[in-house]
C-alpha cells in the first residue's frame, strides 16, 4: 500500500464534488491510501496570487508545512491546486529569503516549512506510481467501445512541472486507454476553456468552449474526461450556454478521469458522484451498468 498526504482542494467538495468522491473511491481498489491533510486551507488559486502574489505564497505555505510533517508526497486531484501549490513550493525553494520570512510568519501558528515536500497531481500518481498497466490488470468492466476525448486543459501541462509534454500531452490518453476505452483524436486537447473568467467575462470566453466541444465532437467522442474541476464545470455547466449562443446541439457529458477509471473498476455510480453531472452521462451509464439496470428491472 502506498501512502500520500491528500489535499482535496475546495472544488472537490463543492462544484467539483464528483472529483472528490471518485478520487476517494478509486484509491483503495488501486492500492493506495490518501491521508487527508488535517485542517488544510484553500491553496489560494489564481485569484489570491492576482491580488497579492506574496501573500498567496504564505497562504499556500501553511498547507506545505502541514503536509511536510506527514512525510509523504502531497497529492491533489485538482489541476489548479497542483499549479498553485507547486508554484509556491518552487518559489520558496529558489528564494531562501522569502522562505525565511514565510517561516517567521508560520511560526506564530507553531509551523515551519523546510522545503522538502513533493507536490503531485493525482494523474501523475496514477500514471507513474500506480501505472496504466496495473490499472488495466484490475479492471472489472473494461470500457471497450467507449470513445473518449481526453481533455488536459492548461494547468496540468503548461507551467512545466515536468509532468507531460506542453503541446502534445499523453498522460490522460494512456489512462483512458488503460480503462479499455478509446482515446479519440482531439487536436485541441490542451487548449484553454476560459478558466475562471467564465464568471466575470463570459461573453469573451464562451467561444473557447465552443471550439473545444466542436473538436471533441468531430473526433466522435461520447464524452470528455478531465482532471480539472474548473474545466469540468465550465464545459458541463456552460454547455447549454454554448448551444444557445452558437446554435449548436452538444450533449457531451464531461467526466473526471477518476470517474472513468472508477466505472471500469465497477464502482457504483453514486460513489463516483455521477449524479453531479449536469449533461447526463446516461448512455455511458447504461453501457457500463447495463447488468445493474437489467437486474433491477427484473426484480421490480
Amino acid at each position: 500500500m502506498k501512502y500520500y498526504s491528500y489535499f482535496p482542494g475546495c472544488s472537490a467538495e463543492s462544484t467539483g464534488l464528483g472529483l472528490g468522491l471518485s478520487t476517494k473511491a478509486i484509491a483503495k481498489p488501486l492500492g493506495f491510501e490518501l491521508v487527508e491533510i488535517e485542517d488544510w486551507n484553500c491553496c489560494g488559486s489564481t485569484p489570491y496570487g492576482s491580488l497579492d502574489e506574496e501573500e498567496a505564497i504564505v497562504v499556500a505555505a501553511r498547507n506545505l508545512a502541514l503536509a511536510e510533517k506527514m512525510g509523504f508526497d502531497l497529492v491533489t486531484p485538482c489541476s489548479s491546486c497542483y499549479v498553485t501549490l507547486s508554484r509556491a513550493n518552487g518559489h520558496l525553494r529558489e528564494h531562501p529569503r522569502m522562505l525565511a520570512r514565510v517561516n517567521e510568519a508560520l511560526a506564530v501558528a507553531g509551523l515551519s516549512y523546510r522545503g522538502s515536500l513533493r507536490v503531485r497531481l493525482l494523474v501523475d500518481v496514477l500514471v507513474n506510481d500506480i501505472t496504466p498497466e496495473v490499472i488495466a490488470a484490475r479492471l472489472k468492466k473494461p470500457l471497450r467501445g467507449v470513445r473518449v476525448a481526453p481533455y488536459y486543459g492548461c494547468q496540468m501541462v503548461r507551467p512545466r512541472y515536468g509532468l507531460d509534454d506542453t503541446e502534445q500531452p499523453q498522460t490522460l490518453d494512456r489512462l483512458v486507454a488503460s480503462t479499455g476505452a478509446e482515446a479519440v483524436d482531439f487536436p485541441l486537447k490542451a487548449r484553454c476553456c476560459g478558466g475562471s473568467l467564465t464568471l466575470s467575462e463570459e461573453d469573451s470566453v464562451l467561444h473557447l468552449m465552443h471550439k473545444l466541444l466542436r473538436s471533441a465532437a468531430a473526433g466522435g467522442a461520447q464524452c470528455l474526461v478531465t482532471p480539472c474541476p474548473l474545466c469540468q464545470t465550465n464545459l458541463d455547466a456552460y454547455q447549454y450556454r454554448v448551444n444557445a449562443r452558437f446554435k449548436t446541439d452538444f450533449k457531451i457529458p464531461v467526466l473526471f478521469i477518476s470517474q472513468l477509471i472508477g466505472m471500469a473498476l465497477d464502482i457504483d455510480a453514486r460513489s463516483l458522484g455521477m449524479f453531479t453531472n449536469i449533461v447526463p452521462p446516461r448512455e455511458l451509464l447504461d453501457y457500463v451498468y447495463r447488468d445493474y439496470f437489467t437486474t433491477n428491472r427484473v426484480k421490480t
Binding site: 463543492s14 462544484t15 486551507n41 492576482s50 514565510v102 508560520l106 507551467p159
Partner: protein
C-alpha cells in the same frame, strides 16, 4: 524611488522581464490578445519604457486566463503568465481602478472568502461577487436570471453547498497573514 521596471522585477513573477527579446511569440499564442488593451509583448515593452500608470490601469492582465501558452512557448523563459499575476497584484496593492472588466471584483470576492473561512465557499463568494455588481445586474434582468438558473443547476446537483466550511485554524491563518504583512511593512 525605485523605477517601475525594478518594482516589477522584484515582484514574484516579474523577475525575468529583462530577458525578453520582443519576438512576439507570446502575443501570437495568446487566446485573449484581442481583448487586451496591450497584449503581452507590448506590455513588456511598456514596462521597460517605465509607463507605470498606463500599464497598471490597463485591462490587459485581468483578461489573462492563466492558460500558460505564452509561458510554454516563450524562447527566453520570460513567463508572461506569472508577469500578468505580478501586474495584477501591483495594480491591486496600489489601488488602481480598472475599467471595463469585472474580473478584479470577482477575484476580490474569492480572496475575501479565503481570508474569512480558510476555504472558498463558492455560493457565498458568487453571491458577494454578484451583489457587488448589483446596479449592473438590475440593468440586465435577463442575464441575471440566466446566472440564477445556472447556479440552480449546480445547486440541485449538490455542487453548491449552502454552508461554508470554516477551518479550525482560521485564526492561525489570519495571524500568519498578519505577521507576514508586518514583516513586509504593509497592512
Amino acid at each position: 524611488m525605485v523605477s517601475f521596471l525594478n518594482e516589477v522585477r522584484s515582484t514574484p513573477g516579474g523577475e525575468h522581464i529583462l530577458a525578453c527579446i520582443q519576438c512576439g511569440t507570446c502575443t501570437g499564442s495568446c487566446p485573449m490578445a484581442a481583448f487586451m488593451e496591450y497584449p503581452p509583448r507590448k506590455i513588456i515593452a511598456m514596462i521597460r519604457a517605465g509607463m507605470r500608470d498606463e500599464v497598471l490601469s490597463s485591462n490587459s492582465m485581468w483578461f489573462c486566463l492563466s492558460c500558460y501558452t505564452c509561458t510554454a512557448r516563450c524562447p527566453k523563459g520570460v513567463k508572461p503568465t506569472d508577469l500578468a499575476h505580478a501586474l495584477e497584484s501591483l495594480a491591486s496593492r496600489h489601488g488602481f481602478t480598472i475599467g471595463g472588466t469585472r474580473t478584479p471584483s470577482m477575484y476580490r470576492s474569492f480572496v475575501d472568502s479565503i481570508r474569512a473561512n480558510g476555504r472558498v465557499h463558492e455560493l457565498g463568494m458568487m453571491t458577494r461577487y454578484y451583489l457587488s455588481l448589483t446596479p449592473d445586474l438590475l440593468a440586465h434582468p435577463v442575464a441575471t436570471l440566466k446566472i440564477a438558473l445556472l447556479a440552480l443547476k449546480l445547486f440541485t446537483r449538490k455542487r453548491l453547498p449552502m454552508m461554508s466550511h470554516r477551518i479550525k485554524g482560521r485564526n492561525d491563518l489570519s495571524r500568519i497573514i498578519q505577521k507576514f504583512r508586518e514583516a513586509r511593512g504593509t497592512s
